[in-house]
């Protein structure tokens, strides 16, 4: 004899209702969102006025009263009421390419074009993932060869004068390319059954997360050579890059571990029951799901890695920000620091938002795929 559990749910068919009518049009929008009550109306007016005034001021400063061109000594900007964008026209080569030899800066420009171009092509997603990744590898290697030179009649340029945006891209690319695989390994190692592996991974992650990036780079660039035998000379850029990779991997590993823990045990057990080995299980069952979950958090780390490239100025290299800072010390242009920093802000903002937009599109793709799989 069975008793049906008592249910709070209504039994029988539910009555059908038409969806609520939402008023459309400009008037309805204004009424609902901007003037839905007297207080709301006042708030809209006050805030609207504030925004309008601020926007007008900004426009006046940055466009109406701005000076776009000035002779090399900045004289045209002295009496200007608005922004002096001439400072960018004067200094953009230093800001974008640092102390890289002036005659050779087309190489840096080509590197920037390669990265932006392939970034745009990748974002359309017309090509397969494998092709896109292979393309990035080619872009990365080509950038290094192009900047370094020393072949085909290209003048050799030491890494000590690399700078600006090309350097930022290369550091960033190296950090992500080296850091992501390392992060996956660290995350897996931290969950490993083998105590030695687990200990090494935990020690690395916790140790690196416990020190500031600046100290890590300082150590890698300046102190480390003292402990290495003199015949083992590794380029400073590579030493610091390794520091960046380990730093990035330690943070990303914890993000990925979060993804691994979100995968139900049953998945792993089911794969085991099918007779799959550890690496096959991890590669085909666990990781694809785990990585899809952590995409938003991972892009957080990736964007931060891009911004962390500014720390490379401690090595004596001119990254974009460092080059801007140095360029703006010029006594004839030193008054226009705001314009210089705004330019750099815009540069970073555009690149970082592009990455962020790309991250969310991957996320949407994953959701679409998951919905399709569930159907």
């Amino acid at each position: 004899m069975t008793t049906a559990p008592r249910s709070f749910a209504y039994s029988g068919t539910a009555a059908t209702r038409t969806p609520p009518e939402v008023p459309r049009g400009v008037r309805a929008f204004l009424h609902r969102h901007l003037f839905n009550s007297p207080l709301g109306g006042v708030a809209t007016f006050v805030l609207g006025a504030v925004i309008a005034i601020v926007l007008w001021r900004v426009l006046q400063w940055s466009v109406v009263d701005a000076v776009w061109y000035s002779p090399g000594d900045g004289s045209a900007c002295r009496d200007a009421a608005g922004a002096c964008w001439a400072v960018i026209a004067e200094k953009y080569r230093v800001i974008l390419f640092g102390a890289y030899p002036y005659q050779q800066q087309w190489r840096g420009a080509l590197v920037v074009a390669l990265w932006l171009g392939w970034g745009a092509i990748s974002a359309t997603r017309l090509l397969s993932v494998t092709l896109r990744l292979a393309g990035w590898a080619v872009v990365f290697v080509a950038s290094i060869l192009l900047l370094g030179g020393g072949f085909l009649g290209l003048e050799a340029v030491g890494t000590d004068v690399w700078g600006g945006l090309p350097l930022t891209f290369i550091i960033f690319g190296g950090t992500v390319a080296g850091g992501l695989p390392l992060a996956v390994l660290l995350a897996l190692g931290r969950r490993s059954q083998l105590p030695v592996v687990r200990f090494i991974c935990v020690a690395t992650i916790e140790g690196v997360r416990g020190i500031p990036l600046l100290a890590l780079l300082f150590f890698a660039a300046l102190i480390l050579p003292l402990f290495l035998p003199p015949q083992l000379t590794v380029d400073k850029l590579i030493r610091a890059e390794v520091g960046m990779i380990v730093f990035f991997a330690s943070y990303a590993a914890e993000v990925i571990r979060g993804g691994l823990q979100a995968i139900p045990e049953g998945q792993d057990e089911a794969a085991k029951a099918l007779g799959l080995g550890y690496w096959l299980r991890t590669r085909k069952i666990i990781l694809p799901q785990a990585l899809a979950i952590v995409v938003p958090a991972l892009f957080n780390d990736i964007i931060r890695a891009f911004k962390n490239t500014t720390f490379f100025s401690i090595l004596g290299l001119f990254d974009v920000l460092g080059a801007t800072k140095a360029a703006l010390q010029d006594p004839q242009w030193v008054r226009y620091g705001t314009e210089g920093y705004l330019f750099v802000f815009l540069l970073y903002f555009l690149i970082c938002s592009a990455m962020s937009a790309y991250g969310s599109s991957i996320e949407r793709d994953n959701q679409r795929r998951a919905r399709k799989a569930a159907r």
């Binding site: 030491g158 050579p225 010029d330 006594p331």
Partner: protein
């Protein structure tokens, strides 16, 4: 906080430098590398900075170029490493650079504790205080309770501590790491007093102040700021090379040898000092391990001290500094080279 960290790291690297293996002589390393590697500040126009084309200019930069001219006979064989106050000496200790010429003030602590040696200063400065005229302050004693913008780890920081003790006044420190930010803070009214070398103050006032007449530099000069090249202590030969390259610049000015007239002087000067300076008689190159024409190359390619001063910080530069105590000793300054 970052400052303590940097101090700790500098101490650690000093320890490592002492324990580290004694390598080849610096001159050999420099010759092997084919360039003189030089740590400079990189953000001090007039001393070391890049122009709009990414090329280096400044007194410190020219000192490095002179060194390259002395060693290689080619002033362009020099590599610059941009450093900040925390890394400029560490880079030298670890062998990353061969010489540091980065506005480093010669102090006893730096000379004796770090395994480094200072050679003859190329620029003498002192610290001064700048205040807004509206404050109505006439001297430092009246500054009790004022806020002061200083850079961490700089000489200014110590000068501020000394002033407080000396006059029994209390100052509020606003510590900012970047000179540009300090300028913004000071001219924006975030602090009442700017402390910097007097040369820095006058150029800041001329270039950055909204209205230079609104600011006064107090008459008192605090401390001494002799700034010049720094080398590692373990290589007397290299130290001599750097030292005498600097003296060559000094002596050339005293003897009236310039980059323009150096060839004529070499051909027909009867002056014994000039003949020794330019290697007509004995150039001293052998003792230094350099080419006999080393000093000639320095003057020909870089110029004498007066030329270097004028084009970088003096009358031909935007900074327009007076020679002041940086004049030749014959004009009442401190620039003095021992006899050749």
């Amino acid at each position: 906080m970052r400052n303590y960290l940097a101090t700790g790291l500098v101490a650690l690297s000093a320890l490592a430098a002492v324990c580290g293996p004694a390598g080849a002589s610096t001159l050999d390393t420099v010759k092997k590398n084919g360039v003189v590697t030089c740590a400079v500040n990189g953000s001090r126009p007039g001393f070391s900075a890049v122009d709009s084309k990414g090329e280096w200019h400044g007194i410190d930069v020219d000192t490095c170029r002179a060194l390259a001219a002395a060693v290689f006979g080619d002033a362009s064989k020099v590599k610059f490493l941009k450093t900040n106050n925390q890394t400029r000496l560490t880079a030298l200790q670890t062998g990353e650079v061969d010489v540091t010429v980065a506005n480093t003030t010669w102090t006893r602590a730096r000379d004796t504790d770090l395994g480094l040696d200072f050679v003859s200063p190329t620029f003498y400065d002192g610290q001064g205080l700048m205040v807004p005229k509206a404050l109505g302050v006439k001297n430092a004693q009246e500054l009790d309770g004022a806020s002061v913008c200083v850079r961490p780890g700089s000489t200014s920081e110590r000068v501020v501590a000394d002033i407080q003790k000396k006059f029994g006044i209390k100052l509020k420190l606003v510590v900012i790491d970047d000179q540009k930010e300090i300028n913004t803070a000071f001219f924006g009214g975030r602090c009442d007093v700017a402390v910097q070398s007097t040369s820095g103050l006058s150029s800041t006032r001329a270039a950055v102040a909204p209205n230079p007449d609104d600011y006064v530099i107090l008459p008192q000069i605090f401390g001494k700021d002799p700034m010049g090249p720094v080398v590692r202590q373990d290589d007397p030969q290299w130290r001599d090379i750097v030292q005498w390259t600097v003296f060559t610049l000094f002596q050339a000015e005293e003897s009236g040898v310039t980059s323009k007239n150096v060839d004529e002087m070499k051909a027909d000067s009867k002056d014994a000092t000039v003949r020794r300076l330019l290697g007509v008689d004995d150039s001293g190159g052998k003792g230094l391990g350099l080419d006999p024409a080393w000093a000639y190359n320095v003057i020909k390619q870089v110029g004498n001290y007066g030329e270097v001063f004028d084009r970088n910080v003096g009358k031909d530069s935007p900074l327009k500094l007076e020679r002041g105590i940086n004049a030749q000793y014959t004009d009442g300054g401190l620039i003095y080279a021992p006899p050749l």
